[in-house]
């Protein structure tokens, strides 16, 4: 299907760093290091001359105070000319997906031919904030005109002011944390603990299989550490091939200790990582000699009231994207569903099933999902698009779907086509 002015956008290639649980193998890298690493390796793998790139777009959910525009730092890699504009965006957990479609928009409009899109998150490198009172005092002290005045300002600091504040993963509008929302969805949609654990186990087993047969690791640029005493990281480190339902059953629910069902095992872990995807107009891909993995057929975003079921917006985003693609659910040959929580995945399924759509698990998350692989918020969309595009090629599937639920009651859906 061609777009408004006949310019179709190709997914040429994608790659990512290994996804590692926060505070583990990638903890010393800053988010900007991870983003640059993924972008540079993508250039290496495609042998693309950086000068061909027209724009860089990166997603990040919790930006660093020191590097607020991570995209620009990526486009300032020495492999690029310095004249490539870049920006960073935040569509919560769908940020990399949004970066990819933002790139697509620019290409379709004819503003660009080649765009590098991606996303990054380092939850080992989050800004730790000073308390509001301490911040006020520091600002005031910095404006003091004399040493005496400055000391007087400092003298107002009280011990409790020194307790740092770390950003919580909670909705600013409702105060409800992500986990509490998942807990609520499990209850309201009748998703059992066992069903959640089963989905989590499946995620680990399929991701382990994808790692063993190197379909998954093929997308990973091995992380070569910056210090001699650290090992090379070639795979995601959250995947547990040996886990079992029995082991998972032992875990206590985290968000509702008495009646809850959401545990550390059936939720995605806090993760560090980055992804990058190379997008080109169909013509540019042909001219530069690349064989596209797939083309973007359509995309859509939707939102619901965050106070309702925070992660249920895919039930609205996906039909919108399918409608824009002009295809039906039954025509999808592969589906990638973001797994923030098993409860959310199964709730999304329920919502889709209520539309009369058949949930065929054989084509969903065939190499596992975020529960096993990990979920660096800003980067996940890039991983999903890359995995989907590669697997569509392997299986020669014509239509594939990416669905991502996101903070703020939002969702993002993207349809790829093979030919």
């Amino acid at each position: 299907m061609s777009s408004i002015n006949g310019r179709r956008v190709a997914v040429v290639a994608g790659c990512r760093t290994p996804f590692c649980k926060s505070g583990t193998a990638l903890k010393e890298a800053r988010a900007v290091d991870l983003a640059r690493y993924a972008a540079r390796e993508l250039l290496e793998r495609t042998n693309l001359d950086g000068a061909e790139v027209d724009e860089v777009v990166f997603g990040q959910v919790v930006p660093s105070a020191l590097v607020p525009n991570v995209g620009r730092e990526v486009s300032l890699l020495p492999q690029f000319p310095k004249e490539i504009p870049a920006y960073s965006l935040n569509r919560a957990c769908a940020s990399a997906g949004q970066a990819i479609t933002a790139a697509q928009d620019q290409i379709v409009l004819g503003h660009a031919n080649v765009v590098l899109a991606g996303g990054v998150e380092s939850l080992s490198d989050i800004p730790i904030l000073a308390s509001r009172r301490l911040a006020d005092i520091l600002v005031e002290a910095s404006k003091a005109r004399s040493l005496g005045q400055r000391l007087k300002t400092f003298s107002r600091i009280r011990p409790r002011d020194l307790i740092p504040v770390s950003p919580a993963i909670a909705e600013p509008s409702t105060g409800e944390s992500m986990g509490q929302s998942a807990e609520k969805m499990a209850k309201e949609n009748g998703i059992s603990r066992e069903a959640q654990d089963r989905w989590a186990l499946r995620s680990h087993q399929l991701a382990a299989a994808g790692t063993a047969d190197s379909r998954l690791t093929a997308e990973i640029a091995p992380w070569l550490p910056g210090r001699a005493d650290q090992p090379v990281v070639t795979q995601d480190n959250g995947i547990r091939s040996e886990t079992s339902l029995e082991q998972m059953a032992k875990l206590k629910p985290v968000f509702d200790r008495r009646y809850g069902s959401v545990t550390a095992a059936n939720a995605s872990p806090l993760t560090d990582g980055a992804s990058a995807v190379l997008l080109m107009s169909e013509d540019a891909a042909r001219t530069l000699g690349y064989e596209p993995l797939a083309f973007i057929r359509s995309y859509a975003v939707a939102a619901v009231d965050p106070g309702w079921q925070l992660l249920q917006a895919p039930v609205w985003a996906v039909p919108k994207a399918l409608q824009r693609a002009g295809i039906g659910w039954g025509q999808l040959g592969l589906i990638e569903v973001h797994e923030a929580f098993a409860a959310q995945v199964l709730s999304n399924f329920k919502g889709w099933a209520e539309k009369g759509w058949e949930i065929n698990e054989d084509i969903i998350n065939v190499m596992g999902g975020s529960i096993a692989i990990g979920h660096p918020f800003g980067a996940t969309g890039g991983r999903m698009v890359t995995t989907l595009a590669n697997e569509m090629r392997r299986r020669d599937v014509q239509f594939g779907l990416v669905s991502i639920c996101a903070q703020g009651g939002m969702a993002f859906a993207l349809v790829l086509e093979r030919r």
Partner: protein
């Protein structure tokens, strides 16, 4: 067209020096005359209240005196007059009745800095190209236009000696910190600020200069006993560094000391006298010859003919083999040439290790403040690697530094050719395998070449470029040009065993082994050669290179050239004993904690001798030096190097041949072929055929020939 022009505005004469048709400003006799005339006119012009002085060249202030004029000098008296002329001109500037402010951007060296020192006020741009220094000592002379007088008066004896005695060139920031310049400003406002300073000076304002360093500095630089101590220590250091082989630093020291003791006028006289004496020394002649030879080499792409093919641009370098050499090549390429480097080795941990070791070269530059934190981060991002050939598709040049084995290297060549583009050049860093052999399996043999780096790559300044039988001229110029971008002096040598450096080194090292077996003490051999001017002796060098590496190279030479280049039997015994040199912690010397800890006397028992002092030091020297000269002459006869110039520069930079001797071929000329042949024949009679003089020397002896005209 005049070199000096000026325009007058608001009572300030803005003077510009711009030598017509020259890339840089140099001070020649003609320029001096113009200076004198110009300053006379400016002095007489009542409308001029102050002078602001600039260079008209884009990135050069004044590069120094014109060396071409200097080499024409034939007597000490003539040289002394040249120095006195320069002093007089600058004296005129210093005593000029109106203040002079200079705005310095670009190189400000030698006579250029001496001029700036004679002015009233110095403003420098903070650009990396702005460098100030007095490199005269490196040419065997001293700053003879008042530099030995004005610099210590401005920044103190210690700081001045530090610059003058080592012939140092400092970046603008450092010069500012030392007090050489009064202000440091961005290039964009250099002119404006200098003009403003001239205007202020015209109004009677004078800069107040604080002595840097407080009370200790005052004690050392400002009091006679303090100064005496400073000079005593500096003298001791000069002796230690030059081994008494270089007269210039000592003479410069004397010029500074004399001037501080007896006043400026007497100091200048002494300075000119000493300059005159130094200018006609053999050492200075040699150092100037080397300067010209290396300058010529920088323009030589190693390809015959009037219009050598232009080198291909290398934007991306592939390095196969992430070991010590590969990492050194990668790190140096990033740090010096700023190219994108992709490394490849068989497994990722090895690649990671290689990248870290390449990165150390950048870390070192950061630590020495040669680059900023931000430049460091940019350069680090140029280094990457993988266990596959990803990214090699765009490599314009690939250098392999894998295991020294023909099959392995040929395999790598085939793999690389399959990955790279059609114009990509493949270079082998082999030291022992003929390039022509490696290229036998090539699809594009005309793009295969040897690039022989020396270890450690970051520090060793020489590169041997070796075209194989089918290598295209364009490939040669590409390799030479890239080596130059890596900061190396490149010589193009013939694809013959050992190339040039290992060829002349082998008999010398072997002879050290023969001497050891004759009962000469290890430290005696090393001491004699360092005294002769080498930075380290042959036995220490063996330990540094690694005895296994030397053995491998020597095996190749033995096979190719016969008994003459057979390794001394002592070496194999050490290798067998695991004494591989420094890297193994033990060789001829003991090593602990990365430091040399003295001769390991167990070595004597191992090779079955007792040091007995049996051989005279004169004969030790003769055997070591002549055996090298003989092989060098023979190799020149075989066309291993393209010219004696290349051979000498190679030996200076590749093995540390004493610069004041000019190189092995220059030294052979000095000794005279007849004498060398006679000595060699005598040695051959006594010690065997390895000393038999080569045909080149015999022929020279017969017809009174020389290597250099």
């Amino acid at each position: 067209m005049p070199a000096l022009t000026w325009e007058l505005r608001d009572g300030i004469a803005a003077v510009t020096l711009d030598l017509p048709g020259q890339p840089v400003n140099l001070i020649s006799r003609a320029v001096k005359d113009e200076f004198n005339a110009a300053f006379e006119r400016l002095a007489g012009d009542a409308a001029v209240h102050a002078v602001a002085f600039f260079s008209g060249k884009a990135d050069n202030f004044i590069a120094g005196a014109d060396i071409e004029e200097f080499v024409k000098l034939s007597s000490a008296a003539e040289a002394e007059r040249l120095s006195a002329d320069g002093q007089e001109m600058l004296d005129r500037v210093a005593r000029f009745p109106k203040p002079v402010a200079v705005g310095i951007h670009g190189a400000c060296l030698g006579g250029g800095l001496e001029f700036a020192l004679a002015c009233t006020y110095r403003v420098a741009s903070d650009h990396p190209k702005t460098q100030l220094g007095l490199p005269e000592v490196q040419l065997g002379i001293l700053p003879g236009a008042g530099g030995c007088q004005r610099l210590p008066r401005l920044i103190g004896a210690r700081a001045a000696l530090d610059i003058i005695l080592a012939g140092k060139v400092e970046r603008a920031q450092k010069a500012f910190k030392l007090g050489v310049v009064d202000e440091l400003v961005p290039p964009a406002i250099l002119r404006e600020i200098t003009l403003a300073a001239a205007k202020k000076l015209a109004g009677g304002w004078r800069p107040r200069r604080k002595r840097i360093g407080g009370i200790i500095a005052w004690l050392l630089d400002g009091t006679p006993p303090g100064r005496a101590l400073v000079f005593r220590m500096a003298r001791a250091q000069v002796f230690k560094k030059s081994g008494g082989n270089y007269p210039a630093p000592l003479a410069a020291l004397e010029a500074v000391e004399y001037g501080l003791r007896h006043g400026l006028a007497e100091g200048l006289k002494r300075e000119a006298q000493l300059f005159g004496r130094l200018a006609v020394t053999d050492v200075s002649r040699k150092l100037v010859q080397i300067f010209f030879a290396t300058t010529q080499l920088k323009k030589d792409f190693g390809v015959a003919g009037a219009a050598p093919p232009a080198p291909a641009a290398v934007q991306r370098l592939g390095v196969v083999g992430a070991g010590f050499m590969g990492a050194g090549i990668a790190g140096t390429a990033v740090s010096q040439a700023g190219v994108d480097v992709r490394m490849k080795d068989a497994d990722l941990p090895r690649v990671a290790k290689g990248l870290l070791s390449a990165r150390e070269i950048l870390d070192e530059r950061l630590k020495r403040r040669r680059i900023t934190r931000y430049e460091h981060a940019r350069l680090v991002a140029l280094l990457s690697g993988s266990a596959a050939y990803t990214g090699f598709g765009r490599a314009d040049l690939v250098i392999e530094a894998v295991f020294e084995d023909l099959q392995v290297k040929q395999q790598v060549l085939k793999e690389v050719e399959a990955e790279t583009h059609q114009r990509s050049v493949f270079a082998s860093n082999t030291s022992t395998i003929p390039i022509t052999r490696i290229a036998e399996v090539a699809q594009r043999p005309e793009q295969v070449i040897g690039m022989h780096f020396f270890s450690p790559v970051a520090r060793m300044p020489l590169l041997e470029v070796i075209p194989g039988a089918r290598t295209a001229p364009g490939t040669v110029s590409t390799a030479v040009a890239f080596g130059r971008r890596m900061g190396k002096t490149a010589i193009v040598v013939k694809d013959s065993p050992g190339f040039w450096i290992n060829r002349v080194l082998a008999p010398y090292m072997n002879e050290a082994g023969h001497l050891l077996l004759a009962g000469v003490a290890i430290e005696e051999i090393d001491r004699l050669m360092t005294q002769w001017g080498f930075p380290v002796g042959p036995i220490t060098l063996l330990d540094e290179v690694g005895l296994d590496v030397a053995q491998k190279a020597s095996g190749v030479l033995h096979a190719a050239f016969g008994e003459r280049l057979a390794a001394a039997p002592a070496f194999a015994l050490l290798v067998k004993d695991g004494r591989l040199g420094r890297k193994a912690g033990r060789g001829f010397y003991r090593y602990a904690g990365g430091k040399k800890r003295g001769v390991d006397s167990a070595v004597y028992a191992l090779v079955g001798v007792q040091p007995n002092g049996g051989v005279h030091s004169a004969e030790i020297l003769q055997r070591l030096v002549l055996v090298m000269l003989n092989e060098a002459a023979r190799a020149v006869g075989e066309g291993v190097v393209r010219s004696p110039r290349d051979g000498d520069v190679g030996a200076l930079f590749g093995i540390g041949f004493p610069p004041f001797r000019g190189g092995p071929l220059r030294h052979a000329d000095d000794l005279g072929a007849a004498r060398i042949v006679a000595d060699l024949e005598r040695l051959a009679d006594r010690h065997g055929e390895r000393f038999t003089p080569c045909e080149v020397l015999r022929d020279q002896a017969r017809r009174h020939g020389k290597f250099y005209p």
